[in-house]
Amino acid sequence: MLQFILNNKEINTSLPPGMTLLDFIRYHKQLTGTKIGCREGDCGACTVLVGEIKNNELIYMSVTSCLMAIGNAQGKHIVTIEGINLEGLNAVQQAFSDEGATQCGFCTPGFIVSLTGYCMNNKTPSYEAAIDSVNGNICRCTGYKSIERAAAIVNEKIQERNSADPLQFAVSNNVIPAYFLGIKERLTKIPVANDVNSTASAKNLGGGTDLYVQQHDTMEQQAIHFLFDKPALKGIIQNGNFCEMGASATVTNIAESLIFQRHFKELKRYIKLVSSTQIRNMATVAGNFINASPIGDFTIFFLALDAKLRLSDADKKREMPLREFYKGYKQLNKKDSEIIDRISFELPGTNDLFNFEKVCKRTNLDIATVNTAIWLKINGDEIAQAGLSAGGVGPVPAFLEKSSSFLAGKRISTEIIKELISIVQSEITPISDARGTERYKRLLLSQLVKAHFIQLFPSLPLEKILIA
């Protein structure tokens, strides 16, 4: 039996925990304001808010309900557009109406939910953050300019919040109904994350952002081992020079982690290149590794950093470098019964350099055509040690071993970059597909390798590298 709160109502259901939240909302609760656009997390029409208590604070995040199992709703507050509606229009709805930010209206509830979620969170408000909150919502009618104007109006209102409690402020400023103020208390009466339906043959499920895209038609009937909310799999901590992450750490957890922010100066730029707000709230790092996509953004990120995985099989645990985890296309170097439970890596030190690059058809909210990361340990004016990884250029997310060892002991120059690129080219085997031709992917990776050095060594002669 699953228990959660849907809008203003406690839910007890024995429906299959693998059912998507979207199907539950629309077809079992007849709440039709949540729309179906793609069922793969790419349009945002089905966006809902998920509230849970973290550090004694009720926090709301937006998710695409098409990719979330109701099993992952256990003990949480699920908010649909109906749960936001007040007597008249709320402040977000009014801004949309005034600015003509709704045309056919099909995507609109998703936008309203996302932006209302922005009004409820406890981060410093800004116009940029307001826009970021709807970056996973696709609109085909408006061209977004009216949505930008509406978001600006909403943001101005939220700027007045100062140090007031976000939920309290949202309630008293016509953003959300008053029942939200009682939710925290009500949630404490519901147990969090029980491991329903766990059997030996159960499928391991994290945030679901890959599994529900690939197997949406079979997941509902599947026995599932829910990992997303396991306390043992949560958390990001620093241990000396090392960072240790629970396997269920999400992209959002990384983005908000002070440890990451301290050690990756450009973290914000990288994160913006990775999926959307809704997906980041659900997608786990271990899920990215296990999915074994040759272009998994965080796989490429952590390959460069030489991250180590801890595989656990009941009580048996062993460690494995991420660089040894991939045997072939979607083939993992692990037993079926093993799960990743922890990830650790050495944090880049003050003398280290790190960069991540990604290019796709659409700059944001897209899957990479090619992505690459680099980690350089610098000693004086020499590279002491290097890690270079690249995705989209072979059957597995690739650690470029020869290229990396070539760099060790080198002083960076245009010639070295040129030599490096020819080694890189010898290490990759891209194929032509919907994301690009083989020729393009080869050229693109060369360009992105140059981009690494242009980013990391601003004093190098830029134009020479460009035409190298």
């Binding site: 609109t108 709807v134 140059k450």
Partner: protein, 752 residues
């Protein structure tokens, strides 16, 4: 006035097809589409699917009581495949089951044996094979052949535009319910309820009068639900006809993308001739349109390509020929612009190529050749032109000198990034080019409490047509808009509708509403005259108050309406409107097909990251000819949305079919439409109020399609930025300009 749906839209209370409460016993359908793009069906094995407990029945062409035919212009498209399949995803069977999941699961159990035939996806190959959907057409003005002899500069080339997925966020769908006496009520997410009704009647072999097609609204259409919505509605109706049970089918996104047609891709040859003053003296073009497996709307799309093949320019000698080519792709179809953008792209490519060879900026050639009032297009229509007006206004208002200087300064001081700009003038003809379609009807009822309902043939799909209909009635009656409701589009209330397309729905249906309201108003004014004892021509109604001889009386709208009812005056009217003065002679390819033209000019600036091959659109600054906009907020939305959709078509939206005709860009994860970060940073619109009289509703010119073509400017601005980095780049004229093409253009040139 705000969009009348904005209240329910923002609250998630607007009802779309999938939100209609289900009637008990509703069954669910799913189509089994051919796994092969071309072949002969040897054997179709339904047994495993039929044996599934939840499956009620699997329908094939054998179950069609009438004609297995849904072709709109040419009867060349079966609803369900019989002996052959002509594209991947072509419907072969329709499964009906007690749940969506079961229907989808049953589809996977169907087996088919197909003898494969050669697959053609390239329109030029199809044309060589003589595989055309309709005979080719040629528009001619003057004598291009001899004019080329006198040209100083002659430039030839090839230009290509890929297709475009409509990506309405609401997928296609329908819900059919049985009614008594063999009638059916069918909810359909269609832009053309009458098309659904007509073809459904033909397939079922029953009269159109038994088919009530109802459309409340669409979650986006863009042309993709003009003809392409029909088959899903008929599948449901066919099953309901046999089973006497409600049947519903909403397509999964991947089914929709695989099985429905898109904007027609084109490959075209051009030849342009200029004199020493850069006047275009001659233009020849051959268009190879990729029509897909059946005609669908492609012949009409092709016609509009020819109409707009010289965009906003006067060219005295034109020969333009167009082939509609049969390929093994889903039937390509209407998409905002309807062939116009494809035609305009080619002449813009010709001008750009000429400019590059002559070492001038394309805008010099563009500006010199803008069409003037009284000059004619190749189809013989003399125009009232606003082209120069728009151009000059844009160049002045947005200070083109400054833009050019800023770009030059930026480019000379930046190695990694380059900027480029372009002008994109547009000229788009308003009217259905099939003359008979330029008619519409509206049913207006005034109720005894003074409230009003309107029904028209227009379908609301976000463009705000219902808001405009309501505005027309509110203005004619001079009453509070809150008293007026616009009803769903329904074939029992409004018969023989034209589809909501060609940007013409507000004009045609608006005029019909106007006519209906004026007639009712006339009758109730007579009643007022009787009450107030004066002539009917002395009566006016303003803000629900009746005036006689300009004096406000105590008689209110409410009282007057009730008085009229008591006097047994007809408070309902069915207005009919047909556009006057338009004609076209297909045998000569000459006439006056358009009620009027819409003009505008966009200046686009972009920045290219020359290291990564990525780009941003800095600004699109527009001067647009609105006539006199009757709803600036709605019209602004149409311009902004159209521009961004056009930019998507020209940049990131790339349809990929493999050689076997399988769609590779078959989901939102592989086909990208613009997101909020990818739109122009600045999008300025200047409302040019043009003084020439026009027959638009309240002189408010149609605004649906024209702005899409501003997006073409992005392609040419990007090209100019590439040239700023690499002057001799051999990058061709092949849209979309994906990051791939752009990077290849920056680095892989033959000339190096």
């Amino acid at each position: 006035m705000k969009n009348i749906d904005s209240y329910t839209h923002t609250r998630g209370e607007s009802i779309y097809l999938d939100d209609i409460p289900l009637t008990a016993g509703t069954l669910f359908g799913a189509v089994y589409g051919s796994p092969v793009a071309h072949g002969k069906i040897i054997k179709l094995d339904l047994s495993e699917a039929e044996a599934m407990e939840e499956v009620v029945r699997v329908f094939t062409y054998k179950d069609i009581p009438g004609n297995n035919q849904i072709g709109g212009i040419v009867p060349d498209e079966p609803l369900l495949a019989e002996a052959e399949v002509h594209y991947d995803g072509m419907p072969v069977a329709f499964v009906v089951a007690t749940s969506v999941e079961a229907a989808q699961a049953a589809v996977k159990k169907i087996k088919i044996e197909i003898e494969k035939l050669p697959v053609v996806t390239d329109p030029r190959v199809a044309q060589k094979n003589g595989s055309l959907l309709v005979p080719p057409r040629t528009f001619k003005l003057g004598d291009s052949k001899s004019a080329f002899l006198n040209c100083v500069h002659i430039i030839e080339g090839i230009a290509e535009t890929n297709g475009q997925e409509h990506m309405y966020i609401e997928t296609q769908g329908a819900y059919a319910l049985p009614a008594e006496n063999g009638a059916l009520k069918v909810y359909s997410s269609t832009q053309g309820p009458t098309a659904v009704q007509r073809h459904m009647a033909d397939v079922l072999g029953i009269g159109m009068h038994r088919l009530e097609i109802d459309v409340t609204r669409l979650g986006g259409g863009f042309g993709g639900k003009e003809d392409q919505a029909t088959s899903w509605a008929i599948f449901c109706a066919l099953a309901t006809y046999h089973l006497k049970k409600p049947v519903k089918y909403c397509l999964h996104r991947m089914e929709d993308m695989r099985m429905t047609g898109k904007r027609n891709p084109y490959s075209s040859d051009f030849k342009i001739g200029l004199d020493a003053d850069l006047k275009i003296m001659a233009y020849e073009a051959i268009f190879f349109q990729n029509g897909g497996a059946a005609a669908d709307l492609s012949p009409a799309v092709l016609e509009r390509t020819l109409f707009h093949c010289t965009n906003s320019y006067f060219v005295p000698n034109v020969t333009a020929t167009a082939y509609s080519c049969r390929t093994n792709l889903p039937t390509n179809t209407a998409f905002r612009g309807f062939g116009g953008p494809q035609g305009m792209f080619v002449i813009e490519a010709a001008i750009a190529k000429a400019a590059e060879q002559l070492g001038v900026h394309a805008s010099e050639i563009q500006q010199k050749n803008l069409i003037k009032t009284g000059e004619e297009f190749s189809y013989g229509q003399n125009v009232e032109s606003e082209a120069t007006e728009c151009w000059t206004k844009a160049a002045g208002l947005y200070d083109i000198q400054k833009i050019n200087n800023e770009i030059a300064t930026f480019n000379s001081s930046n190695a990694l990034h380059k900027k480029g700009m372009s002008f994109m003038p547009i000229c788009f003809g308003i009217s259905f080019t099939k003359i008979l379609m330029n008619q519409a009807r509206a049913l207006v009822h005034v109720y005894t409490d003074g409230s009003v309902t309107i029904s028209t043939g227009a379908v609301e799909m976000g463009q705000g047509v219902n808001t405009k209909m309501l505005q027309v009635a509110a203005r004619i009656f001079s009453i509070d808009p809150a008293r007026i409701k616009v009803n769903s589009t329904n074939t029992y209330r409004i018969a023989n509708t034209s589809p909501t397309a060609a940007s013409a729905a507000a004009d045609l249906n608006g005029k019909a509403v106007q006519i209906a309201c004026e007639r009712i108003l006339e009758r109730i004014k007579e009643v007022a005259a009787e009450i107030l004892k004066c002539g009917a021509d002395c009566i006016a109604i303003n803000g629900e108050k009746v005036s006689a001889n300009a004096d406000v009386t105590s008689l209110s709208w409410n009282e007057l309406v009730m008085a009229a009812y008591l006097k047994r005056v007809n408070l309902s009217e069915h207005g009919h409107y047909a556009t006057e003065g338009i004609y076209f002679d297909n045998t000569k390819e000459k006439g006056h097909p358009f009620a009027y033209h819409v003009y505008g000019t966009a200046i686009t600036t972009v920045t290219v990251d020359c290291l990564r091959g990525t780009y941003e659109v800095d600004a699109v600054k527009i001067v647009h000819d609105f006539g006199t906009s009757m709803n600036p907020l709605v019209d602004k939305g149409q311009i902004e949305g159209g521009v961004v959709q056009g930019i998507g078509w020209m940049t990131m939206e790339e349809i990929v079919y493999d050689a076997d005709g399988h769609l590779r860009s078959n989901a939102l994860s592989t086909y990208k439409v613009p997101d909020i970060y990818s739109v122009p940073k600045v999008l300025d619109i200047h409302y040019l109020e043009t003084v020439n009289d026009n027959p638009a509703i309240f002189r408010s010119k149609a605004v649906g399609e024209p702005p899409l073509m501003y997006g073409i400017g992005t392609f040419f601005a990007l090209r100019n930025a590439i040239k700023a980095f690499k002057p001799h780049s051999d990058i061709g004229f092949s849209a979309p300009m994906t990051p791939e093409k752009l990077l290849m253009g920056l680095y892989n040139s033959k000339n190096d």
